[in-house]
């Protein structure tokens, strides 16, 4: 009977999880134009070799890693800051409303919110530059220059994700052992001291889990590129997943799936490594 309960889940996981992943790895070893035919031609590691020797791939890989290296700490630290602010004892009224406000981006369709944010960074009618110029500040390049496009994507994605991370920290705050904090207060610790020496160390597992989660999310960054920047200007925001998609759109299935496989290995190794590191430092 339990097998019967399991059957739909097993079939769904097999058909739309395991099979496509296996298929992706198989296609990575075939010649693109024969990949979907009944008689595919296998070419060994040729696709991987072609991808790994291409300049475009190196650039996109470094861009993705740089982006992730910036995005994870920015998101985790801002989420912690937000959680601390929203858990402040004086904030008795309206705490719920503030929580709702920071969580709304996480449940809204990102096609809509990304398009709205993209328009806000527009040079002609965007509010960002309008506000900056109004305050007498220099205009922000938005999506028109490579560096500012990179920063714009980072800002947009942080806006989208940080609320969820902040709520995870807020939930963990409520699970903390309040007595240690009270003891520290009795011993004359300031709020800052108790934060650094009492609260943060207790939160370490939550910080580790959130960082790993964010790491996986940002390595996979795609939607924001597709909707907001399309990889431009001058490929400055063409990340690994976007490169794979470009290959797929031009029917270079072999190379597209080779890139997908490489990215999967990167995600797997990075998150596995981070997990092991977090666990080891927990046992210290």
């Amino acid at each position: 009977m339990l097998y019967l309960f399991m059957a739909p889940f097993a079939i769904s996981t097999a058909l739309f999880g395991i099979w496509p992943i296996a298929e992706s790895i198989r296609v990575a070893f075939t010649e693109s134009y024969s990949a979907l035919s009944s008689d595919p031609r296998y070419v060994g590691f040729d696709n991987f070799r072609a991808v790994l020797s291409a300049r475009a791939f190196h650039d996109s890989l470094w861009r993705t890693l740089l982006y992730t290296a910036l995005a994870v700490p920015i998101n985790v630290v801002s989420a912690l800051g937000l959680a601390l602010l929203l858990s402040h004892p004086v904030l008795k009224h309206g705490r719920t409303a503030f929580k709702l406000a920071i969580f709304v981006p996480a449940i809204c369709p990102e096609t809509a919110s990304y398009i709205v944010l993209k328009s806000m960074f527009n040079q002609n009618y965007g509010v960002v530059n309008h506000a900056l110029l109004g305050l007498g500040l220099p205009a922000f390049g938005g999506l028109t220059t490579p560096g500012s496009a990179f920063a714009t994507l980072l800002a947009i994605e942080t806006w989208n994700h940080v609320g969820l991370y902040a709520l995870i920290f807020l939930t963990n705050f409520q699970l903390l052992d309040k007595s240690i904090e009270e003891a520290a207060a009795i011993d004359g610790a300031s709020r800052w001291q108790s934060l650094v020496n009492v609260v943060i160390p207790q939160l370490r597992p939550a910080i580790a889990v959130t960082s790993i989660y964010a790491l996986i999310e940002f390595l996979k960054t795609f939607s924001v590129i597709y909707i907001v920047s399309r990889g431009g200007p001058n490929f400055s925001t063409s990340f690994v997943s976007h490169l794979a998609w470009m290959k797929f759109s031009s029917a270079q299935y072999g190379e597209a799936t080779a890139i997908a496989t490489i990215l999967f290995v990167v995600v797997f190794v990075a998150s596995g490594g981070a997990y092991l590191y977090a666990r080891r430092s927990d046992h210290r």
């Binding site: 339990l2 309960f5 399991m6 739909p8 889940f9 097993a10 996981t13 739309f16 395991i18 099979w19 496509p20 992943i21 298929e23 992706s24 296609v27 979907l36 602010l85 004086v90 503030f98 929580k99 709702l100 406000a101 920071i102 969580f103 709304v104 981006p105 996480a106 449940i107 809204c108 369709p109 990102e110 096609t111 809509a112 919110s113 398009i115 709205v116 328009s119 806000m120 009618y125 509010v127 309008h130 806006w159 609320g163 969820l164 709520l167 939930t171 963990n172 939550a206 889990v209 996979k220 939607s223 997943s241 794979a244 998609w245 299935y253 997908a260 990215l263 999967f264 995600v267 797997f268």
Partner: protein
């Protein structure tokens, strides 16, 4: 006096942050009622000077398909995928919980975890091949099947089943209840709140889906509102006001649903998310 200053500062900061998170939505709604010329001359405005509906009227057809069809697709695909997905993941998580040591069960669990970890945008590429082989490309059924299982809902169920005392199920078994009876008479009544939360979260997250639906579609006949928005956005010579109007139409139903069910949804995200 000093605590009052702190309180004031904390409130001001919290309000500023809340505004930063909500402002894009305010701007979206305001801009959808303002003419293109008005937006160009003064982008910053909290309230539209006129309620100009031409943006909404311009949305009659997108890519040759009436707007109504996109809305119907959104509702049908999201509704079916939610119903199916909650049943599949609920039963699967239940079976896994009851006896994780059955042959194949751990393989299924690991298979699912690998699927969750695989970059989902890149899973869509081989999913296209698989849908092609199964003859599901461009069909509503294929889209619904592919997007139905939401990992967060699976983890939500896993956490819930962990909270049910084993003794309860054991007692029922000793009394001679079949697996089916245990599920229907004991588990299901207890699971009602978690099923409701699962349905809500699944609905909200499936409504957002756009990339797999776009790739698995052959034409706009199976596109949903978020995809209509992407196509409108990539058209040449865009009508900015119409884009904001469509964005508002895409966001407002789920925003409303979320605001009405906020506690359930946020708690569900925390239970499913903190563990998963």
């Amino acid at each position: 006096m000093k605590p009052r200053i702190t309180a004031c500062l904390v409130y001001c900061l919290a309000c500023a942050i809340a505004l930063a998170f909500l402002y894009p939505f305010i701007w979206m709604v305001t801009s959808s009622f303002r003419t293109q010329e008005a937006i160009l001359s003064t982008p910053l405005r909290l309230w539209p000077e006129t309620f100009d509906l031409s943006g909404f009227e311009a949305l009659g057809r997108i890519g040759g398909v009436p707007l109504r069809d996109y809305a119907v697709n959104s509702i049908v695909i999201t509704g079916l995928a939610t119903a199916l997905g909650v049943c599949i993941t609920g039963l699967g998580a239940y079976a896994l919980h009851r006896n994780p040591r059955l042959p194949l069960f751990s393989i299924i669990r690991y298979g699912f975890l690998i699927k969750v970890m695989y970059p989902n945008m890149l899973l869509v590429i081989p999913l296209y091949f698989v849908a092609h082989k199964l003859g599901l490309l461009g069909t509503m059924l294929g889209i619904v099947l592919v997007i139905s299982t939401v990992p967060l809902v699976f983890f939500l169920f896993v956490e819930f089943f962990r909270s049910i005392p084993v003794e309860m199920i054991e007692a029922a078994r000793i009394d001679g209840a079949s697996e089916w009876q245990i599920l229907m008479r004991i588990i299901l009544p207890l699971a009602r709140p978690v099923v409701l939360t699962g349905i809500l979260i699944s609905f909200l997250l499936t409504w957002k889906q756009w990339f797999p639906i776009m790739v698995l579609s052959i034409g706009p006949e199976t596109h949903t509102l978020p995809i209509a928005l992407v196509s409108l956005n990539s058209e040449f010579g865009v009508n900015f006001q119409a884009i904001m109007a469509l964005a508002a139409l895409t966001v407002l139903p789920v925003l409303l649903l979320f605001l009405l069910t906020q506690w359930r949804v946020m708690d569900g995200f925390m239970v499913g998310g903190v563990k998963g």
